[in-house]
């Protein structure tokens, strides 16, 4: 297999897409399954360790994982020649794989938008990276938490749609 072989690029971007997707959804599930339910149980004096050290680092890998997943996913769909049919939900294609992939892609795109344009701007206010009053910080924390939960909800059908693109079930 040579570098000019499209199968090599397909393999390369498929691996990058899966790895960055694990990075993204792994962090999303860490926030929702581990960090947020545990925070109320952590003694007040220990909480800054999460907020000041772990959270900023986790948010870095979370948001850039989301970006890498979308970019490599779109390139992969283009390499496979399914980007147009999938984004139009496979209407007329009569293929469970293409329609399933289309739903997965649109859910992933909505989730990526949520990360970069709702969750991250809210977290910047909460962490004091952008200026905000106490009331604005409280509101941003609530909106960010709901957006994060929405993405956890959407991640379930999104992953199913992605698996359908292979198995068609």
């Amino acid at each position: 297999m040579e570098f000019s072989d499209p199968h090599w690029w397909n393999l390369c971007f498929r691996w990058l897409h899966i790895a960055s997707g694990v990075m993204w959804i792994g962090h999303l599930w860490y926030f929702n399954f581990t960090q947020s339910p545990t925070m109320p149980k952590i003694p007040m004096e220990l909480r800054p360790a999460i907020g000041k050290f772990i959270l900023p680092e986790a948010l870095f890998w979370f948001r850039w994982g989301a970006m890498a997943t979308i970019v490599t996913g779109l390139i992969l769909a283009w390499l496979r020649g399914v980007i147009g049919p999938a984004l139009s939900l496979g209407v007329g294609a009569h293929s469970l794989q293409v329609t399933g992939l289309g739903f997965g892609m649109w859910l992933g795109i909505i989730m990526w938008f949520n990360v970069w344009f709702i969750i991250w701007p809210c977290q910047k206010k909460v962490m004091g990276i952008t200026e905000a009053t106490d009331d604005e910080k409280k509101r941003a924390a609530r909106i960010g938490a709901l957006a994060s939960r929405t993405n956890t909800l959407l991640s379930i059908p999104m992953l199913y749609g992605m698996a359908m693109s292979v198995y068609g079930l």
Partner: protein, 32 residues
């Protein structure tokens, strides 16, 4: 009324329900 997204269990249940709806829609659109 409490927001279902405040509960992790209800969030997952909604995600599973949405998956079922999505799979039915996919079958309708794909027509197979």
């Amino acid at each position: 009324m409490k927001n279902p997204l405040d509960s992790l269990g209800q969030t997952i249940a909604l995600g599973v329900a949405l998956t079922v709806v999505m799979v039915i829609l996919i079958h309708v659109i794909a027509g197979v």
